[in-house]
């Protein structure tokens, strides 16, 4: 495995070398700074001087993992977790602004801003006062029968343990009891309310904080069962662990890879998994940005049908598509990338040119032959990319495929380049617009990687409508040549290109990397390579069944261990 990693890395270096030599992670970054940091942390440092020869896990026999940062709950995770804990739904859009790793919300590096702390307070106070309206339901006990304090203590133990995703330490419990007693001077309900307020503002709730227990290898900790349960549930369900997971954490099941696998299999059979998987796909393909205020801008003159309702229905379609992929489908990235069906509904019907009465009862619609191929041709993706009105749609879409689906890095455009569309750009085809990129030697090394991929998607407009002539009236040529991948060659149309992507081991490996980012909120580093390689191999061996890749991920050392950062 080790050697195949190096061969692949070498190939990638050669292939992208022409694109101004920027290899690997995006220097412009995603806000994590993880790329540069991880590169520095590679190899010998992991052992803290204790590793054999300084090369960590070269044979993948010793557990090795790079430093993981604590993550503050993302907006989606916060909402889902609050709903688990209290049954209440809360609107986080006004206050939680996520930061990202790759395309995924992670909140791993950026420290909380003062406004965040204030917002958590207000949210906690609002949620708490709502939650205590039905005190018996919230606390699970009747204070009149059990006595105020007995009921409160029972509630504190149950609620905080669940909210903190593990047992409390004595000072934490004592502080909650103290808050209860202050509130109790007014009423039992006020006491409970203060407990809820306190818990929901506590770092133990707001952060996925990990410590683990020391192992024989200095600097390497094994995560506790509760910490593993937390990683599992936010990876697969985008929410906090359920009772069965907590039980598995408590009884030691999650201390071994087999036990983790067993829980993961159970979790992937649950409807909640489809939510987690949909969240992954929607973020990986930028579709989730349609739901972020101001993140995707359309020119109202060119896309008059754009509306919040339409955007919501686009996101909904992607969710249903992913859900179906795991319930009725084979869960494979091939189906994800090449399926010829979709779930058009509501205002989307107009975009797809489908009449409501043509849609079967289960909502699954088979598109006319040759018009759609997988997620890349769903309106949600096509509307999200490009995210701004631009003449150069092919460049934007092509670049996104390179970075998100192939996990390749492209440098930012060089300074001092004239980006202006030529006169009469409205009338030009994408190929005509790209001529300069393709002829100028300075441009071509990067643009040959991007533009042709975008040509394949040119038969879809800014909202994802199928078309055969572009806005300038030119017949669309969606042929091109794929280079820089393991499935290079010419293609004609997105179905052919998507088929190639589905055949590609590089793309399959990229899904592994994206799951890694999604799972840990960081970029993989050199010390993670054994774990990551295992995921890549499992995904490939299972013909791209994403569930097998996930099972390999959760059973890997990367998932179970934590490298302690410098003090």
């Amino acid at each position: 495995m080790g050697s195949s990693w190096h061969v692949r890395l070498f190939l990638a270096t050669v292939l992208l070398g022409g694109c101004t030599g920027a290899i690997g992670r995006n220097p412009d970054g995603d806000g994590t700074g993880g790329g540069a940091g991880n590169a520095l942390w590679g190899g010998g440092r992991s052992g803290h001087g204790g590793g054999p020869g300084g090369v960590v896990g070269a044979d993948c026999k010793q557990p090795a993992v790079d430093v993981a940062r604590w993550r503050r709950l993302t907006a989606v995770q916060y909402r889902n977790t609050i709903s688990d804990l209290t049954g209440l739904s809360v609107d986080t859009t006004p206050f939680l602004q996520d930061t990202t790793v790759g395309p995924f919300a992670a909140n791993a590096l950026v420290a909380p801003q003062p406004g965040d702390i204030d917002a958590y307070q207000v949210a906690a106070e609002t949620i708490a006062s709502d939650a205590v309206r039905d005190l018996t339901k919230l606390t699970g006990c009747d204070a009149a029968v059990l006595g105020d304090e007995a009921c409160a203590f029972k509630f504190i133990d149950a609620f905080a343990t669940r909210a903190f995703r593990g047992p409390m330490l004595p000072p934490q419990r004592e502080a909650l009891i103290a808050a209860y007693r202050v509130g109790r001077q007014e009423s039992h309900a006020t006491g409970i309310r203060l407990v809820v307020e306190s818990v929901l503002q506590s770092p133990s709730f707001l952060y996925i904080a990990e410590f683990g227990e020391p192992t024989d290898t200095p600097g390497l900790h094994r995560l506790s069962g509760y910490e593993v349960a937390t990683r599992l549930s936010y990876l697969l369900w985008s929410t906090s662990p359920d009772a069965a997971l907590a039980a598995a954490a408590a009884d030691g099941t999650l201390d071994a890879p087999d036990g983790i696998r067993e829980q993961a299999v159970r979790m992937m059979a649950s409807p909640r998994f489809r939510k987690g998987a949909a969240s992954f796909v929607a973020q990986m393909f930028e579709v989730s940005r349609l739901g972020v205020a101001g993140a995707v801008v359309k020119d109202p003159n060119k896309s008059p049908d754009d509306s919040a309702l339409l955007r919501a229905s686009m996101q909904e379609e992607v969710s249903r598509f992913v859900d179906d992929l795991f319930v009725h489908g084979d869960g494979s990235l091939r189906t994800l990338l090449t399926a010829t069906h979709g779930f058009p509904a509501g205002p989307l019907l107009k975009i797809y040119g489908v009449a409501a009465d043509q849609i079967p009862a289960d909502g699954r619609y088979e598109f006319a032959a040759g018009t759609r191929a997988g997620l890349l041709t769903q309106a949600g993706f096509l509307a999200a990319v490009p995210a701004i009105p631009t003449a150069y749609t092919a460049v934007h879409r092509g670049k996104m495929l390179r970075t998100h689906v192939m996990c390749q890095t492209l440098p930012p455009p060089m300074a001092n380049i004239d980006f202006t569309p030529p006169p009469g750009a409205d009338k030009l085809s994408q190929q005509q617009l790209a001529r300069e990129h393709q002829e100028n030697p300075t441009c071509v090394s990067c643009h040959e990687l991007m533009d042709p991929l975008g040509f394949a998607l040119e038969k879809y407009d800014a909202l994802g409508r199928f078309r055969t002539t572009d806005a300038g009236g030119n017949p669309i040529d969606s042929s091109g040549e794929l280079v820089g991948l393991d499935v290079d060659g010419t293609f004609d149309g997105i179905a052919a290109l998507a088929g190639k992507l589905a055949d590609s081991r590089d793309v399959s490996d990229c899904f592994a990397i994206q799951w890694f980012r999604f799972a840990f909120g960081r970029e993989p580093g050199e010390a993670d390579r054994c774990g990551l390689t295992a995921v890549k191999e499992a995904l490939a061996a299972a013909n791209g069944d994403l569930r097998e890749g996930l099972l390999a991920l959760v059973a890997s050392d990367v998932f179970r261990f934590r490298k302690m950062e410098a003090p």
Partner: protein, 469 residues
């Protein structure tokens, strides 16, 4: 908007009497702040907009230090001319260094990172704080209980933090993440306002304080348990979190009275998603309101990011980035029709700037106005030159940093100051230029920071001479 002249006593009564308040609202109402009293603080705003200005229209004309007129772009600020300062000839030297030495980024990203921080860039971020954050930390350290918040960071279309989207930093590797949503900013600012007009109960207030305190204590207990055993990187988060909690705790104390009669309850912003003008104005209103009630001494306002942010396509038919490049067509052909669009975009920003400055200047304070007590620093990642050797776009030379206000404590205003900025050849030693670090140093000193340099000292130490007049 109603002016608040509520005594502490009436405040307390309305507080206690409102059932709606009991569960929801922290203390520290605006109404706590009486209409007069304390001395206005020294305040600062850092203001970012992307990609600078079209040079020939931006800079003043006439004689620097003598008779001069505002440039076309800022002509609308004529009334405020006596309160402006244009230091002409600055170079974002660090950005030049960064670009040449590493090739790791273009001017956009480097200029973005270095404009307000003057520091080196590591990964996506600066290796030190930006000037207004450093000023905020300094002010709060010297007066820990005065403000509700050390600084307030708002924006429009800034994007998530990143190498091309962050210009403000709390410290090394710690980007500010500006609040882009004016409704959230409004809630943040006015959460202390509640229905008024009920009856009095000092005991209820004391009880409420005790309850808030108990929650904060419980949160701190958890914070201590969690943060006791962490490494350096997580410690940063812990400290930021702790700072936030301490600010909540400060609210439980009685704060100083407001400093200006402009302490009024702002109207809730009603802003359509993506409406740039309305959003930016709403954010500016909130900054001014926060100053008027002395909730914070420092604010930052970020419009867009180094590669764009405001959709000028729908306004003027072309995006800002495209326009800045096209105006000189790669340096070999001037295109007046594109320059015209560039100027329109510049005027659009100038209108936003004018709105903020006029608003600040409309509020009487001390011997002058709020603007006189507030130093506003305008910065940008890059700018468009008319005569550059390669291409006009995205230069970091003669960077249009300028200032407004602060006359009550900072610099002698109403001036256009020329600094050495000879046009360099390809191999020119950059130090023949005037590094913008010097301006940052001067600002730090104006706020009482005892420093010889700000940011990376190797890229220019000492203050910018002549600002004091």
């Amino acid at each position: 908007m109603s002016r608040l002249k509520v005594s502490r006593r009436t405040l307390i009564s309305s507080l206690a009497g409102s059932a709606a308040f009991a569960g929801l609202r922290p203390l520290l109402p605006w109404e706590l702040r009486s209409a007069e009293g304390a001395t206005p603080p020294r305040r600062m705003i850092s203001f970012f907009h992307p990609m600078g200005f079209w040079e020939p229209s931006f800079w003043p004309t006439g004689t620097p230090g003598g008779t001069w007129q505002l440039g076309e772009t800022l002509a609308g600020l004529e009334r405020l001319k006596p309160k402006l300062i244009f230091p002409d000839g600055l170079l974002t030297y660090g950005a030049l260094y960064f670009q040449k030495s590493t090739g790791g980024d273009n001017n956009h990203g480097a200029g973005m990172t270095l404009m307000f921080s003057g520091s080196a860039k590591s990964g996506s971020y600066a290796t030190g704080p930006s000037i207004e954050q450093a000023v905020a930390q300094h002010l709060v350290a010297s007066n820990p209980n005065r403000w509700d918040r050390a600084r307030w960071d708002l924006g429009f279309g800034t994007g998530a933090p990143g190498g091309h989207s962050t210009c403000f930093f709390l410290g090394s590797g710690q980007p500010v993440n500006p609040q882009n949503n004016p409704k959230a900013a409004f809630d943040d600012l006015t959460r202390v306002i509640r229905p008024s007009g009920a009856t009095v109960d000092e005991t209820a207030i004391a009880r409420l304080r005790a309850q808030k305190k108990s929650v904060i204590d419980a949160v701190l207990a958890d914070l201590n348990s969690v943060c006791a055993r962490v490494g350096a990187a997580e410690k940063q988060k812990c400290e930021a979190h702790l700072d936030g909690i301490r600010m909540l705790e400060n609210r439980l104390k009685t704060l100083t009275p407001s400093v200006s009669p402009g302490c009024t309850q702002p109207a809730a912003p009603v802003v359509a998603n993506g409406d740039a003008v309305a959003t930016i104005q709403a954010q500016m209103d909130l900054i001014v309101a926060a100053f008027a009630c002395d909730l914070t001494p420092v604010a930052s306002m970020q419009i867009g990011h180094a590669d764009g942010g405001v959709s000028f396509e729908s306004l003027f038919g072309q995006g800002q980035h495209d326009v800045t490049h096209a105006v000189s067509n790669g340096g070999n052909q001037f295109k007046p029709e594109i320059a015209a669009i560039h100027k329109k975009i510049d005027l659009w920003y100038a209108e936003r700037i004018g709105y903020l400055l006029n608003k600040l200047d409309s509020i009487p304070e001390g011997q002058g106005t709020m603007l006189d007590n507030t130093l506003v620093l305008f910065g940008t990642d890059t700018t468009t030159q008319s005569d550059r050797r390669v291409c006009g776009a995205h230069s970091i030379e003669r960077i249009p940093m300028f200032m407004a206000g602060g006359g009550a404590f900072a610099f002698k205003t109403g001036r256009w100051l020329k600094y050495p900025n000879r046009s360099p050849s390809a191999n020119d030693a950059p130090l023949t230029w005037t590094p913008h670090h010097r301006l940052l140093t001067s600002i730090a000193r104006a706020f009482g920071m005892n420093v010889d340099s700000f940011g990376n000292a190797g890229w220019g130490s000492g203050p910018l001479v002549g600002l004091e007049g």
